[in-house]
Symmetry: D2
Subunit: 296 residues, 4 copies
């Protein structure tokens, strides 16, 4: 079994290691000469026997679309392209159509697990046709965690279903992290709690709230009790936004996940919230309440 | 007609002026010698003919409770005490019971209008017995705005109803201000909008969102376009909190008013949000995402 | 002065009346023969002297785009098309470009006021070039409320600014209505409040929360105290959704307006909330808490 | 080692079994003759050697307070009372004070794990004095899960800290469940997702969102795919409310946990939301939008 792997960044490199460990021959391509196995996508194609499986692990949006376009020109009918990046699910149908015109098949695969996937395996959510999923199953089996296949892999539906599932997974992730964060803040706010880290650590077995994220929170707190070394500035990487946008499309009330997203936006307003400046100005207007001066 | 007025701060002093303008004789008491008419509550009582009406306009909580206690000792059966401060409605029943033991009557009166009440009149929400409301009506008529009585005054129910109504009024106020604030922020965020103040000013006639608060927002923006002189630090004065607490007691889903309250809390977290620090630490743990260092 | 008016529905018909009352000659077109003045857009064009002003007041999306396309073929260089409908502001740039290729000018105009605009005038927010705004000013002056122009009209910026401003206006409207709604619910939940309608009516003068929407809430409650005749099912018409989507684009934390939108979504879930079904199922799983059976 | 256990309901009975399995002699008291070991609290006391440890596992509020009062009269100086119920942490200080007057010691212990605690062990969060915690440690060790003590047990601080920690734990639980619920709803809303249960099951290994609650959600969906047999009606048992109330006391912005609580409130509004009825009535007033009639 062979796999062509395009994109050897942090995630891609780890995935190569895990797939190789399962006895699969991986040919990797990356524009950076120091990490790539081949000099071009054409060379990648030449090193693989038909029918080829080429896995994309590059940034979503233009970079992924650009690679799909090139592969449509290079690959042969019967080959399979799998987009394993964090693409928006609405990109999948156009990608599939483009490739299908050349007789090339397409699968989209949401991948979860972060830097831990190398050792724990990756949770996989796949969209596409049943027969192509079957063809690529050895790759999926190599990447997914040990244990029953259905606990770390799903063929969720047709093209797009994999990335949609991954998008929702990440939306949930936003909500879970914000929930733990609010709980952490509640503990730090109350003087009775003399051992915040210890309290959270005591939740890691037996309780209703135990989870892998909770284990990670304990790790973080043991490394930096009080989280004094970091700012609250928190980026977001797209999937939370897409989840809220899809909620709007489907008229789903998404109060918790959207609040988690908005909290990240607020964390990045370094000149303060224009909304609250307006509120403060209004309080001054009707009540004569003092406003706090801006620090310039 | 006479009125005893206890508390001659910003609100109390304005109310005295308005009541006097209606031809009512006001005897004011305040601990500050430079503004008081009398030296003590006893002297206040002596200057008024029975049945007396004494209006409390002092800070809520202990100061109001303390004055009620003293008035219970000083006043005579048949007198009326009106608490016009921003007391929590749960304070009204104990106050009424204390006074009732001496045959003294009690009304609670929520007062809205801020520093503009002197010229515009005050919106009044009253709780208590019908006959005592009738006795005090000339005072209420002096304070309320011009126009039909029912558009600026209500006898909302028994003791406590007035302050409950005022609490809800202020909860709504939080939601309205936050709504306008969010709209203001949306305008400032979009480069197409070249005239933010002008856009908001154009909403003051004819539109669905026109209101007195909107007029005040225009005033604030005309004084300080861009609100560059003020920080977003926004205090809260209790009634928003009580509204959310009562929503919990009544199992009312209060998403908007609570979000407005929480936004004020967040505006005051000058070392950043502990919640988001935890979220940022979690992202780093599972994804290797960089964290922003705290500024010490 | 002449105006071509395309779309004579509820809003369009009222606007025709108001513009005519200002002494402007209106030629109206509508596909319904019983209300139209002319048989076609071509005939509309022929009845107007150059440079023509044609105001579109048709449903947003395809109907508006279709009319713009036809007008691009029919009108002459120097004519002006004004889209007064509730179009998404992202439609404006393509519309303007299409018309500009024929030398036809374009303005977008957000219009607020609802069925009351006929008598009160409409709040207007306009995007486009200064000189075309100046040409159309007599129309805007006819439509806007009495009083200073800047209190009911704004030239907010280039093409798109008018509809963006109207979108934000409607987003605020969502937040305001939800705030009043939550306050109304808090009053109905508390037995102390014996006169809910009266309490809200008493807020219409002198208080901080007074507004036109509050006046309308009093009207509604006087017509149907307790709102017993209506369900809570509440549609949304697009602009609330767009506001949240733009907030995501601009990374603006929009907690209140989004909560107001989500509350409408929830009001329409007639089989109940799938989210809460999952929560209820989870409680049963870990705590053995009884679940309520579905009613089939 | 001996333990007096008051309250042999679902939780208490399971805990007795687990403590007995660790070789500790349990004397149980319950008002129901068919399950109790002794006829009264006095007899319970007589069966235990000093210094006694008596664990309360009765409903919070009055029942717990009443038992503490009786134990204060019955027990002897040096005995220890542990409240393991879901009491509000503000009850702990009064309970401790009452017992302390008789020389009896007090610990509060939050217990998590639900019906699964019997086999998995219970997560324990304890408040009180160090020496009394040490005395009771064999009991805590019997109840907590296998594994390192600090992963299922914490001495969080002085009296009250245990119940505060448990309250926050439950607040987090609300947020987590709502997050999973919203994700579940997003999957059901999208036709691309042909296998909702399978998708969620595929998240149980390797992914960032894996947790014990997620495992339970899979169990629930395997028992009732589509959750068609249950309504969305979801009770709340106090600790979510207390968490929001404490957030208000501490000025912590608790957007996510409060939204989860409010969603439960909304799920129980069987006549619909008064808030949305007001919104719908307002839309009708200004826009002439039709309202949906109530079903009587």
């Amino acid at each position: 079994m062979q796999l062509g792997l395009v994109g050897l960044g942090k995630m891609g490199a780890n995935m190569r290691t895990r797939v190789q460990a399962a006895g699969i021959d991986v040919v990797g391509y990356d524009p950076r000469p120091e990490v790539t196995d081949v000099a071009s996508l054409s060379e990648l194609k030449d090193k693989l026997s038909a029918p080829r499986i080429v896995w994309l692990m590059v940034p979503s949006g233009d970079p992924t679309r650009e690679n799909v376009k090139q592969l449509a020109d290079i690959l042969e009918p019967g080959d399979i392209v799998i987009d394993g990046g964090n693409s928006r699910f609405t990109d999948d149908e156009p990608n599939a159509t483009l490739l299908d015109a050349k007789g090339i098949h397409y699968l989209d695969c949401g991948v979860s697990g972060g830097v831990w996937g190398l050792q724990n395996g990756y949770g996989l959510m796949v969209g596409g046709d049943k027969e192509h999923v079957a063809t690529a199953m050895p790759i999926f089996d190599a990447l997914r965690p040990e244990g029953p296949r259905e606990e770390g892999f799903v063929h969720a539906g047709p093209v797009g279903a994999g990335h949609y599932a991954k998008m929702v997974h990440n939306g949930i992730e936003y909500g879970l992290m914000q929930s733990y964060g609010e709980g952490y803040e509640m503990l730090t706010a109350e003087p009775l709690i003399e051992d915040v880290t210890g309290t959270i650590k005591a939740w890691t077995r037996g309780t209703v709230v135990r989870s892998w994220l909770l284990d990670l929170l304990v790790r973080a707190l043991e490394e930096d009790p009080g989280l004094t070394e970091i700012s609250d500035y928190t980026p977001d990487s797209g999937e939370g936004r897409w989840t809220v946008e899809e909620a709007i499309n489907h008229a789903v009330p998404l109060n918790v996940i959207s609040a988690a997203l908005f909290a990240r936006f607020a964390s990045r307003q370094e000149d303060g919230s224009p909304t609250l400046k307006a509120v403060s100005a209004l309080r001054n207007q009707f009540g004569g309440h003092a406003m706090k001066a801006a620090e310039h």
